[in-house]
């Protein structure tokens, strides 16, 4: 007889104490939960016992600090600072104080006129635990915090006080302005006469031996050993090969022996010496009277025959003529330099060719080597006078930098925060053993 399927019969089939009996699935759930706790806690305890602090790291350290990855306390010298930061709302509370960084690094000041209270702590700008990034790659927001509305301890600044972004056109408030030199339309004040257009003529210039030679920018502008900047222009290295004629004098007597490219006093002394030697060697042809008796010989120096008065007059006469050629003539020193007669001597104005133009930023020519020089220095081939500054405008930089999918345009791409010239000398205080993990 089958069991009827009414409510009563169905209810009678149920064991009313079933909920008291452990159910395998429910028990398994508890077992799994217990196992999960054991695994999680066991992993943490094992890490602590075995001294593995890496698992608690908030992220991989930068390459420079990777050796401290298992020793948090090397940098985190203050405990519970995040908790204090949370409780107090003071975002400047850091478990890594400046002292921890300064134990190894210098961190020289940014500007003399900076306001001390506005200067961020090391850890505020240099964010660690972000992987193998360069810590000096500080985000723009850190710079803009001050440079968005620049204030100085003296109340004045030579810099644009509101700079927020680089990539825009430069016409809006907060855009990075044009380079100061170009903005103020300052001329190149170098005391040297250089005509870039002539040097870069397509048909070339007269080279050594009168042969035509086509010059390029790199014929004179040679990168330094770091390939970052260009070496200072140097006469012997960059000019003398072609411009040796400017220092020649009295070619009948001294052919192939130009004057040295030195100060006028040295040039004059060299010329006097050469004419005096010439007079001694050719005293008869000069109809000179007998020379006076030789003075006492100075020990260590060869005995020299003094010139007669007639000889000395001849030397002075020749010297005056040569000086007029070299110092006063258009083809001598004046060909390139500003030469002025002084009270007792000629004066050549110091060339004052700047080694670097943008002293508040950094640049690397090597990184731009895929470009032709005139892509940036576009006026170079047409420039005829020295006073023209051939720096590219910031708009030239903006063609690539700061654009979407273009080259980087963040502050630290060109600017350094710390004044590296103030970094301390070598010979730090740590030992190798102290640095090893």
């Amino acid at each position: 007889m089958p069991a009827p399927r009414d409510s009563k019969s169905l209810a009678e089939r149920i064991d009313i104490n079933y909920w008291r009996q452990p159910h395998p699935l429910r028990q398994f759930k508890w077992w799994l939960s217990g196992a999960a706790v054991m695994v999680a806690a066991g992993w943490l305890i094992f890490a602590v016992v075995s001294g593995n602090q890496r698992i608690f790291s908030a992220g991989p350290l930068s390459v420079a600090h990777s050796m401290f990855e298992n020793d948090c306390a090397t940098c985190h010298t203050r405990s519970w600072q995040p908790a204090v930061r949370l409780a107090s709302g003071d975002s400047r509370r850091r478990s890594v104080p400046n002292e921890a960084c300064l134990a190894c690094h210098d961190g020289p000041i940014h500007q003399q006129k900076e306001i001390a209270a506005d200067v961020p702590s090391c850890a505020e700008c240099h964010r660690e635990h972000r992987g193998s990034t360069t810590l000096a790659r500080v985000p723009d927001s850190q710079c803009v915090k001050c440079h968005g509305d620049l204030k100085t301890s003296s109340g004045s600044t030579a810099f644009e006080p509101h700079v927020i972004h680089f990539s825009l056109s430069g016409s809006r408030v907060g855009d990075h302005p044009e380079f100061g030199l170009l903005r103020r339309q300052e001329p190149d004040t170098a005391e040297i006469k250089l005509n870039h257009a002539v040097h870069l003529k397509a048909e070339g210039v007269l080279g050594p031996g009168g042969k035509p030679e086509v010059l390029t920018c790199s014929s004179c502008h040679v990168p330094d050993s770091d390939r970052r900047y260009m070496q200072p222009i140097n006469h012997e290295q960059h000019c003398s090969r072609c411009h040796s004629n400017s220092l020649t004098f009295d070619t009948e007597k001294f052919a192939g022996r130009p004057a040295p490219h030195r100060e006028p006093a040295v040039v004059r002394a060299v010329m006097r010496q050469r004419y005096s030697e010439f007079a001694r060697l050719n005293s008869e042809s000069l109809n000179a009277e007998s020379p006076p008796a030789p003075p006492r010989r100075v020990p260590g120096r060869p005995a020299t025959q003094p010139l007669s008065k007639q000889g000395r007059d001849w030397v002075q006469q020749q010297l005056d003529q040569a000086e007029r050629v070299l110092f006063d003539g258009a083809g001598g020193c004046r060909y390139c330099h500003s030469v002025q007669p002084g009270d007792s001597d000629w004066k050549i104005a110091p060339p004052k060719i700047p080694n670097r133009w943008l002293s508040h930023s950094t640049f690397r020519h090597d990184s731009h080597r895929m470009l032709g020089c005139t892509q940036c220095h576009e006026r170079a081939t047409a420039s005829t006078v020295t006073r023209e500054v051939l720096l590219p405008s910031i708009e030239t930089c903006r063609q690539c930098h700061g654009r979407k999918n273009g080259a980087r345009g963040d502050c630290v791409e060109c600017h350094e925060f710390h004044d590296k010239s103030r970094e301390r000398d070598f010979n730090g205080s740590h030992s190798i053993g102290r640095l090893l993990p």
Partner: protein
């Protein structure tokens, strides 16, 4: 849902402002980042309290449905809050493990939520003979006992031990000794060989009686061998088999309905342990 959406939108707006204006960008250790971390942890903790709430069903702590809604929506809200806390960084090894665990918890929870939306209706439709899941073995045992009694009353003693009921050492009742009816041999054989093991044995989805159509075919073959007076008994056995199939289906659906909890709950507990470790170390350093 509206409150969760509004809270997520508010948190996202706050994060956008914080990310755009906080020098150095967002991070878990920043003041706003810590606040997001506390909010996210709080949401997760509340979600975890559902289990505790279930342990004390008689306490007057609000309706179970409200707790479940809070569990679901605050649990979901915790994900964006923790993302905002981290500033969309994965962090170190411990944090990465936390992310993976959280992802599995949320994924398993969402799978569970989706399954809970349609499987109960599916079960109501497909399993009209549904019983309490934990009682299925007991009901099968009772069903077998009833079938034993039914068949023994017609075919005589079956020569089998009556089924033991859960928690009992001795059989509940003993079938009466009766003389077998003429022509009941095939019924007895069919019952002992196929039906009886099917009712209370290990259920196999490929068994002879596990499929309705196959079972109907077999029963029709047995019916041919039986005198008409025994057809009613055969139909009753077919009914037992149908109920057994439905209970097996119910068990299967129940596993789908609750299986995700075997991932969800253990990982939630692990997340709690690892999360506490993360919080302590983060606040320390």
């Amino acid at each position: 849902m509206v409150a969760t959406g509004a809270l997520t939108a508010g948190a996202a707006a706050g994060y956008a402002f914080y990310a755009a204006n906080y020098p150095g960008g967002p991070s878990g250790g920043s003041w706003p980042g810590l606040l997001y971390g506390i909010a996210g942890s709080g949401a997760m903790l509340f979600a975890g309290l559902l289990s505790a709430r279930k342990q004390v069903p008689t306490w007057r702590l609000g309706r179970a449905q409200t707790w479940l809604k809070g569990h679901i929506w605050l649990g979901l809200l915790s994900a964006p809050l923790i993302l905002f806390h981290s500033g969309f960084h994965w962090g170190g090894l411990l944090e990465k493990v936390l992310w993976i665990v959280l992802a599995f918890i949320i994924a398993s929870g969402m799978i569970g939520l989706i399954l809970q939306q349609f499987l109960p209706r599916f079960m109501t439709k497909l399993v009209p003979m549904e019983t309490i899941y934990e009682q299925i073995p007991h009901v099968c045992s009772v069903m077998q006992s009833n079938a034993d009694t039914l068949v023994a009353s017609i075919c005589g003693p079956l020569g089998t031990e009556p089924p033991k009921e859960a928690g009992e050492e001795k059989p509940k009742r003993k079938p009466k000794d009766v003389q077998p009816l003429e022509g009941s041999g095939p019924l007895k054989d069919f019952y002992l060989c196929d039906v009886r093991p099917f009712l209370n044995g290990q259920y196999s989805r490929t068994g002879l009686l596990s499929s309705s159509s196959r079972a109907a075919s077999v029963i029709e073959q047995v019916r041919i061998m039986l005198p008409p007076t025994l057809h009613e008994t055969l139909d009753q056995l077919a009914l037992f088999c149908e109920e057994r199939r439905q209970l097996a289906l119910q068990a299967r659906l129940h596993h789908w309905l609750h299986g995700w909890l075997f991932v969800h709950i253990p990982l939630s507990v692990a997340l709690l342990v690892l999360g506490v470790a993360h919080a302590v170390m983060a606040l320390w350093y």
